[in-house]
């Protein structure tokens, strides 16, 4: 069968290959997020000071705990490919699902742009010349990774596993190299840590980039269709990923805040490389340069994978043109969905505005987290406990949903502080896209095909 025939919507469907294990799931989740420890998290220092950033790291950690609790119940029950997108289709409805799919696509595409931007910027820092042109490196990074994704998910995520592990090791090496057991020798927390420069409103403002410590870990469930044993691999890969990230976030904050003045840290593009520079160790400098590039490459790699799969799922369901729902006849990858998002990622990377590109990614993620409590409350209302078989039932409902909703509202306020116009620009995009879907695109969608679970009819319908 040719890909043309597949795209034309023939009934015979080529499925994605089931080749992934827990290590690949770990690599997909941590690979996307770990770059957040190498860049981006430090903008929270700029918004609220070093201690404000640490408090934001903890509070946003609570937000992700609620995300993990809610997602565990819904993901373990909605055994359909597509992660949160499939959940929205089954629990809330098509327009919400379309938006959730877009949240995933935009969050990962903007993160991919930020990754490529950092690779270019780090090479410029290493080259040490003002005239260094970063743009060819941005294009090269995205093009090579897109090619890997085009060729096959197994090779892509195997590469990701290796480079993610190497990047994580570089953070540990930096931490050990700063002799944390000997305060004052290398780390200078006593002299560098200041009071909260903006008071407590700065702490709330820091929630904005505090999201960056963890953003994307929930992307592990995007690979559900390609995992050999989802019931075992997805929870194992996700939970080991969260533990890895908590360790990495602690190491990162402690090392960087003990080496760099907060004003510098709050605006740096490559804070961990800069931390290595001030230690005076050439070994650490080289190691962290390599670690930063590897983390950015691993993240961009995972982002291309996840964004393309979300777009592909929407194409298969006709939420976007069916042409994107094609699987490559030889490589069994969503090749058209991979290619369409590349120009967008490159364009945003070319702007060089790292904090703003990151903010677009954060806002899409935040909209997705706001969907989760609504989804959870409706899920329990439409299918109460014992009405369907759940893989996991999270305790204390609806407290986690309400806490998550409250933290999301606080984080919108945090983004409004300093980035209010960008928040409205992002909302303009989602409102425009929603109107397009509701009043034009939805007519191409098969109604009954949107519900594939073998559940009873939801209560109230």
């Amino acid at each position: 069968m040719t890909d043309h025939a597949i795209a034309a919507g023939q009934p015979q469907r080529i499925n994605l290959l089931k080749v992934l294990g827990p290590a690949h799931v770990w690599a997909l989740g941590v690979g996307i997020v770990l770059v957040g420890e190498f860049m981006g998290w430090n903008f929270s220092v700029g918004k609220g000071g070093a201690l404000g950033s640490l408090i934001a790291c903890w509070v946003i950690g609570l937000l992700y705990t609620c995300v993990a609790m809610i997602d565990s119940e819904v993901t373990s029950t909605v055994a359909a490919a597509g992660g949160q997108y499939a959940q929205a289709k089954h629990i809330i409805g098509p327009l919400m699902a379309f938006n959730v799919g877009l949240y995933l696509v935009m969050a990962y595409t903007m993160l991919e742009a930020a990754d490529a931007l950092v690779v270019g910027d780090l090479l410029a820092a290493v080259a040490g010349t003002e005239t260094f042109n970063t743009q060819p490196w941005v294009v090269l990074t995205i093009a090579v990774l897109a090619f890997l994704n085009y060729r096959g998910v197994f090779m892509t995520l195997t590469v990701n596993f290796i480079i993610t592990a190497a990047a994580f090791i570089s953070l540990v090496v930096l931490f050990v190299g700063t002799q944390p057991w000997n305060p004052g020798a290398v780390l200078q927390h006593r002299e560098l840590l200041t009071d909260l420069p903006y008071g407590w409103i700065g702490v709330i403002a820091a929630f904005h980039f505090g999201i960056w410590y963890y953003l994307g870990i929930e992307g592990t469930c995007q690979a559900a269709e390609e995992v050999r044993s989802p019931g075992r691999s997805l929870p194992l890969g996700t939970m080991s990923g969260m533990i890895t990230l908590l360790i990495a976030a602690s190491i990162t904050w402690y090392a960087a805040s003990g080496l760099l003045p907060w004003e510098y840290l709050g605006q740096a593009f490559t804070p961990m490389y800069d931390s290595a520079v001030v230690t005076g160790s050439d070994f650490l400098k080289v190691f962290l340069a390599i670690g930063t590039v590897l983390s950015a490459v691993a993240s961009a790699n995972g982002c291309i994978n996840d964004a393309a799969r979300a777009w592909f799922s929407m194409g298969r369901d006709r939420y976007v043109p069916l042409w994107f729902g094609a699987v490559h006849p030889r490589y069994r990858t969503p090749f058209r969905s991979i290619l369409i998002l590349i120009p967008i990622a490159i364009s945003f990377a070319f702007t060089g505005l790292l904090d703003q590109v990151i903010t677009f990614s954060i806002l899409s993620g935040l909209l997705g987290y706001t969907f989760m409590p609504i989804n959870m409350i409706l899920f329990r209302r439409k299918w109460p406990l014992n009405s369907i078989r759940r893989g996991y039932v999270h305790p204390f409902h609806p407290i986690p949903a309400l806490v998550l909703l409250a933290l999301c509202i606080a984080t919108y306020f945090a983004v409004f502080l300093g980035y209010g116009n960008q928040l409205l620009a992002m909302m303009a995009f989602y409102i425009g896209a929603s109107l397009w879907f509701a009043f034009h695109r939805y007519k191409y969608v098969r109604r009954g095909d949107q519900f594939t679970m073998s559940w009873p009819k939801p209560q109230g319908y």
Binding site: E191, G418, G420, A425
Partner: protein
């Protein structure tokens, strides 16, 4: 039994136009505000008249770290003196809150209308 909805077949040109629309929306709503400087950190910069590490509020350890990064007081002054402006404009705050709240209300309510069609076709 409810009649099964059969969607129209979309032409290749129709699919192309739809693809272009969504990409154009990304550029119009997000990219143009970015490159025209309409978004980004709302900051103010107040560099002191006399620029020294002391006047910039940097102690000797901080100054030493700046110097290891290749900065002088003059080259670091703008970075150190730039602060976010967290003054809240109540009108913009209310507009932003209404936009986000209104968006979610519309999406959830309209989704429910579509969802009833899905459930009707799937279960009846």
């Amino acid at each position: 039994m409810a009649r099964r909805y059969e969607p129209p077949r979309q032409s290749g040109i129709g699919q192309f136009i739809d693809s272009i629309f969504i990409v154009a929306l990304v550029y119009a709503a997000m990219f143009l505000p970015l490159i025209f400087g309409l978004t980004g950190g709302g900051t103010v910069t107040n560099v002191p008249e006399t620029v020294t590490w002391e006047s910039l509020g940097q102690n000797p350890t901080m100054a030493a770290q700046w110097e290891k990064l290749g900065y002088t007081p003059e080259s670091a002054a703008e970075i150190i003196s730039t602060r976010f402006d967290y003054t809240i404009d109540p009108v913009w705050f209310i507009i932003t809150a209404l936009v986000i709240g209104g968006y979610f209300v519309f999406v959830v309510r309209y989704s429910d209308k579509e969802y009833r069609e899905v459930i009707s076709e799937r279960f009846e």
